[in-house]
């Protein structure tokens, strides 16, 4: 009688292979059909006045690099982005309007549209300064992103600003409305960019200027009920139905650059593409990316003495609304 020995572990390996095959089939069946076109407009402005530099609006160091890094990432993620990536002198209002119009003409409702901007942002007050947008019925002051040409020492003092060469929160909302995609995402790495977000049903306990502290539990509860009772329709700015927005800072906060040669927020946004899959499903939603950015800014920027003493702390903000989108695939 002869006994044939199987090499040790063969049966185990066969079972493991079968299990792996089943798991792969299950995994494949769980893979989402993300069969739609993705368009991204990416703008970064570092050079506002190449000859002099405005005293009130200094040139920035890394915002153009932010845009170029986003272009690379979004290309890898399957976005059509390169024709619509513009930095410095190319990042003008005329080009922005043209890029939006080009995409509006070729995209469909089933596609995804993303707009990313890194550069100066700010609030422009009417005279005299009005209440915050959080006041009922108030949409003042407007927030603006400053495209190339809109800030320069050659422009009239004291603001050295030409608002006809750039866009406000409401103007950008109107431009977004011209794009037929149902899914729209907007990401700002700019000061005061939280003011672009038009949340009208959700309240954020973190004040528009986080150094002013946070609302307590009962204030937050009271505010949520007040918003619910008073809700009739979405108001101005970029509402959740217009687009899901990630903003680098609050309505009354500055955002900063310099961390790892990027804007602080953009650095963690780039990182989120590979590190923010909180639920391990292989997809990174806007909320997951935001959570990563929020957590990292708080731990790696806000907790440093430089941020607390020399610069300032800030918190990113996000749109409310019931819908979330896939931003990256891990």
């Amino acid at each position: 009688m002869s006994i044939n020995f199987k090499p040790a572990g063969t049966a185990g390996r066969c079972a493991a292979a079968q299990l792996a095959a089943v798991a792969l089939i299950l995994l494949a069946s769980c893979t989402l059909d993300l069969d739609y076109d993705k368009y991204a407009v990416v703008y970064g402005v570092a050079e506002y006045d190449s000859t002099q530099g405005s005293s009130s609006w200094p040139n920035l160091a890394y915002t153009d690099d932010d845009a170029l890094a986003m272009e690379i990432l979004l290309n890898q993620q399957g976005y059509e982005v390169s024709p619509y990536t513009r930095v410095d002198a190319d990042a003008t209002l005329a080009n922005l309007q043209a890029d939006f119009a080009t995409i509006a003409a070729k995209a469909s409702a089933n596609d995804l549209f993303l707009f990313y901007y890194s550069g100066h942002g700010g609030q422009v007050y009417p005279s005299p300064p009005a209440d915050s947008e959080t006041a009922p019925g108030s949409d003042e002051p407007d927030e603006w992103i400053f495209l190339h040409g809109s800030l320069a020492t050659t422009l009239p003092p004291p603001s050295y600003t030409d608002l006809d060469l750039t866009v406000s929160d409401d103007q950008l909302a109107a431009m977004l409305a011209s794009v037929p995609c149902a899914r729209k995402i907007v990401i700002f790495d700019a000061c005061n960019s939280g003011g672009f977000i038009g949340n009208v049903l959700e309240t954020d306990p973190i004040a528009p200027d986080s150094t002013a502290g946070s609302d307590g539990m009962f204030t937050t509860i009271g505010e949520t009920i007040r918003l619910y009772v008073n809700f009739e329709d979405y108001g101005s700015d970029i509402t959740p139905a217009d687009a899901v927005v990630i903003a680098a800072s609050g309505e009354r906060e500055e955002s900063w650059e310099g961390m790892y040669n990027h804007g602080v927020m953009t650095y963690f946004l780039l990182e989120s593409a590979s590190k923010a899959d909180r639920n391990g499903d292989g997809y990174i939603t806007v909320s997951e990316s935001y959570h990563h950015i929020y957590k990292k800014i708080n731990s790696e920027w806000n907790n440093t003495w430089e941020a607390q003493v020399i610069y300032d702390v800030f918190f990113p903000r996000i749109s409310g609304g019931p819908i979330d989108y896939v931003l990256f695939t891990d």
Binding site: L32, D33, L34, Y36, A109, N110, L112, A182, R183, N199, L201, E202, T203, D204, P205, I206, T220, I221, T224, I225, L227, Y228, F231, D233, Y234, T239, P240, A241, R278, N279, D281, Y283, T285, S287, E288, Y290, H291, Y294, F315, I318, G320, G321, P322, I323, D324, Y325, V326
Partner: protein, 211 residues
């Protein structure tokens, strides 16, 4: 406007269905013998189920189709007998709703939070008096007031709702202070950012009658 009209139509239908179901349930169990009023009871329980969300306000209603979300909750309640078989139910709930599937590259967001639930309970003994363990069926119905936070954000929002919870409850032997109930919770919520949002589930609750 068309989408909004559809949302209202669905809301009214669902409300009407819920009310009719509650009336039918109470009519069916009305002939059953009522127990004497009891003492207050404390309860804790847990539940899980599935929610349906749809018709997001202001969005393209054709694109954002309804999707399912899983729901869970942990409940604590105080049951105060009023008269006969009727009781006042005051509950606190910790609950969560998972994100829907990402089919199509989008999802209804995950959120979690707390709720104050106020309602009335109505129960009837259905087991013969000779049995050592009393079996009771009934239902509680009322309103919920919910404060939730979207997961992975710092955004809070409020929404009210109504609930109907049929239950079947088995009481312990003497001294009959413990009971275990199987609950079938039906919740409908009045969210202003969604045309409809409701859930159905199953849960268990342990009740302890105070002396």
């Amino acid at each position: 406007m068309i989408e909004h009209g559809i949302a209202l139509h669905i809301n009214n239908n669902m409300r009407r269905t819920a009310i009719l179901a509650a009336l039918a349930f109470l009519t069916l169990i009305a002939p059953i013998r009522l127990p004497a009023a009891e003492r207050p009871a404390l309860g804790v329980g847990t539940r899980a189920g599935v929610a349906a969300a749809g018709n997001p306000f202001g969005y393209d209603g054709d694109f954002y189709t309804p999707k399912a979300q899983a729901v869970w909750a942990v409940d604590g309640l105080l049951d105060i007998p009023l008269f006969s078989a009727l009781s006042l139910v005051v509950g606190l709930q910790l609950h969560g709703t998972t994100a829907s599937s990402l089919t199509g590259g989008w999802a209804y967001r995950s959120h979690w939070g707390g709720a104050l639930r106020l309602g009335t309970g109505y129960g009837f003994t259905v087991s013969p008096p000779s049995r050592p363990r009393r079996l009771e069926i009934g239902a509680s119905a009322g309103a919920s007031f919910n404060i939730d936070m979207y997961t992975w954000t710092t955004l809070y929002f409020f929404y009210p709702g109504v609930f109907l919870e049929p239950f079947i409850e088995l009481h312990s032997r003497a001294p009959k202070r413990h009971s275990l109930a199987l609950v079938l919770p039906l919740d409908y919520y009045f969210r202003k950012d969604l045309g409809f949002f409701g859930s159905i589930g199953v849960g268990v609750m342990w009740r302890y009658t105070l002396q």
